[in-house]
């Protein structure tokens, strides 16, 4: 391990100075994704590592009437500790499904979102909540939609010298909030996926239906959501079948047969809450 160096800035200003000097350094937050794949005694890091665990500016949450801001270096457990009155229900449910408690105490929100091999747990609820991401650089900041943070091919949408600082979640109220995990709950494997759905109703009409799924692939179709948005409630069996058929067709190439069937089953389960049987 000779030659490796670790830098531990305590402020964003220090971080930017260090990362300007070491543009190829690994940014280390919770590290769970790096460490879980290295079962050897010593951890293998690239030559330079910048640990952001001690930067308070990105380790706290704040809230206004319109949104909740999460610091990117907050751990999953710290977000859960904000409580179910503060954290949107679909996100709160997903936090409870996240790995095991010891890992929740280490893994960070930003690290989970920036996993490039696969879309991890938080990507799904945060994407259907239309979260935006604050990307900071030494000279300022910009906000991007979550979908632009990691491209489907795993490319990261931030440049060298930039850092994910906050995740902003609009304070929308949904009547239906569902989250489920398939495959291994505790450790990600190819069969692991997270499914989230939320819906708003207004005057007996399904006004805003959102649904996404992610594992090794991420899937959300606003076109299919729009097929069902505006329908009268409760939904009829025909409405449900139309949507399920649309997902089956759309997913034919995207997911393997097992995940596709699980996704369709979960979608059917979510929609059942909006039918006569589940709605009353």
């Amino acid at each position: 391990m000779a030659g490796e160096s670790v830098f531990i800035p305590e402020t964003l200003a220090e971080f930017f100075t260090t990362s300007a000097r070491l543009p190829d350094a690994l940014i280390f937050a919770g590290g769970t994704d790096i460490l879980r794949t290295q079962a050897g005694r010593m951890i293998v890091f690239p030559r330079n590592v910048i640990s952001i665990r001690e930067i308070d500016e990105i380790s706290e949450a704040s809230r206004t009437e319109r949104y909740l801001d999460l610091g990117a270096a907050m751990t999953i457990a710290e977000v859960a500790d904000l409580g179910e009155k503060v954290v949107p229900p679909v996100l709160y449910e997903t936090l409870k499904l996240f790995a095991v408690p010891g890992i929740r105490n280490l893994a960070t929100v930003g690290g989970n979102l920036l996993c490039t091999e696969r879309r991890m747990d938080l990507f799904v609820p945060l994407s259907i909540l239309d979260a935006r991401v604050e990307v900071r650089r030494a000279t300022g900041s910009r906000w991007i939609p979550l979908s632009r943070l990691v491209a489907p091919d795993g490319r990261i949408g931030i440049d060298k010298g930039e850092i994910v600082a906050h995740i902003r979640i609009p304070s929308d109220l949904f009547e239906l909030n569902l989250a489920r995990k398939v495959g291994s709950h505790h450790y990600p494997d190819p069969a692991t996926g997270v499914f989230c759905c939320c819906a708003k109703t207004s005057k007996g009409i399904l006004s805003d239906f959102r649904l996404a799924f992610a594992g090794e692939r991420y899937f959300r179709s606003r076109d299919i959501e729009n097929v069902i948005n505006g329908k009268n409630l409760p939904l009829t069996d025909r409405d449900v079948e139309t949507v399920l058929d649309a997902y089956r067709e759309e997913l034919a190439e995207d997911l393997g047969p097992t995940l596709r069937q699980q996704f369709v089953n979960l979608t059917g389960w979510a929609l059942s809450y909006l039918t006569e049987k589940g709605y009353e």
Partner: protein, 159 residues
């Protein structure tokens, strides 16, 4: 690099390499061997410690990340009055232990009761879900933590 942190109530420092895992630093530099190095991948829980009051697998923490934190190992925790509640609960539930995951069970139970003094079975099961114990059934461990919760309530509130 040299890092400073609080270990079982004492200010300490350690010289660590970037690739060192906290569990090994605790075991080798400080001779605190209650946390066991098992899977080195966050799967078995046997290396659990309290890091800033939270139960974490110390194999999943690079030693440098311990800088400026407060760490409690089973050796330090067993000197506290809080430990007695857990010990009593485990004894009452008849928990047998080979010692391999004792630190994990005890520290995890304490961290749970610290946040939630009266957890239901589901919360206890969830809290213990990261510990692979070969000596005890999950139901026995749940009963032990419930007993520990009762012991703690009695000690603190006299009921």
């Amino acid at each position: 690099m040299i890092i400073g942190f609080i270990l079982n109530g004492d200010d300490v420092s350690a010289r660590v390499e970037p690739g060192d895992r906290l569990v090994d630093v605790l075991r080798e530099q400080f001779r605190l061997i209650g946390a066991k190095a098992g899977c080195y991948a966050g799967r078995c829980g046997s290396c659990t410690i309290l890091l800033d009051s939270r139960a974490v697998p110390s194999c999943m923490v690079p030693a440098f990340a311990a800088r400026n934190t407060e760490i409690i190992t089973i050796e330090g925790f067993s000197q506290t009055v809080d430990y007695l509640d857990i010990e009593r609960g485990f004894q009452r539930a008849g928990i047998e232990t080979c010692g391999y995951c004792t630190a994990a069970k005890v520290l995890t139970a304490h961290a749970l009761l610290d946040k939630n003094p009266d957890p239901d079975d589901e919360a206890i099961r969830a809290a213990l879900s990261g510990i692979q114990c070969r000596c005890n059934e999950p139901s026995g461990l749940v009963a032990a933590v419930r007993e520990a919760a009762v012991a703690r309530q009695r000690r603190i509130y006299g009921r």
